[in-house]
Symmetry: C2
Amino acid sequence: MRNTVQRRVILDELRQLTTHPTADELYELVRRRIPAISLATVYRNLELLSEEGVIRRLWRAGTRRRYDGDARDHYHIRCTSCGRVDDIPASTPGTRLFGYLLKPSGYEVAACYVEFTGVCPACRARRSGGAPVAASSSSAP
Amino acid sequence: MRNTVQRRVILDELRQLTTHPTADELYELVRRRIPAISLATVYRNLELLSEEGVIRRLWRAGTRRRYDGDARDHYHIRCTSCGRVDDIPASTPGTRLFGYLLKPSGYEVAACYVEFTGVCPACRARRSGGAPVAASSSSAP
DNA sequence: ATAAGTGCAAACGTTTTGCCCTAGC
DNA sequence: GCTAGGGCAAAACGTTTGCACTTAT
């Protein structure tokens, strides 16, 4: 992975934000530093960086994808009214997850969605059998 | 909410599946019973039914939205290779979540994504202040 | 020198919408 | 009869891609 100006600035801008921007929100910011950058470059870099595990992709099918410059373990809470996404720190000896949710987050918590990712039995068989699968959509977030 | 033929068939077909179909997968099935139905109707109904809490919308499932006819509490596991989504039963006295994940699911589990949904502080204030918010995107999944 | 990366514009697939008509209440 | 809901086609939307050019290695 080459160290291009565009990539450096995209990552730098993303890491300065705690707002989990969409590709074009980030594009607007990056454009202030590299006016000639294209939206496609932002998309390509966000995709590549999340595949490499440098950043995280917050999937939401059908709407806009959001990205998180912090790849460390933590949760997210999304406002069902305006769509913003905030961080919820992972439980540690110092912070209790549900305690945080109830008070400091300020959110009125409505629901919790849990999704595991992995490799299904059929794909595991196919994989060990030899022929690789035509990967349809995504890598693990 | 009126009890139309289309709505009845869409819900019925969805409930017969455990495969969490996309809108157009369901459309193909429904079309066998109502050949003249339009894809837009399927979309409109899936959206309405999930807003009403009758079915569930699986936001994170790849690029295409997937729907679940079972609105009861359970989790999902998505294959990062082929995109299929399976159910993981919620922990009950009889089934242990992690026990299930490790064995009967057959999946090689890679990661777990947790997202809460709720109403953010700003929207709560706006809401109690009176003026309703121009809801941007969604209801809780 | 060479291949990864970029910019541009056009293409893509999914979802939403406006319009007028149909049918449930 | 009134209105939510349907069908159709077109638009909108976020994202991806082909191509020729650039640039980091």
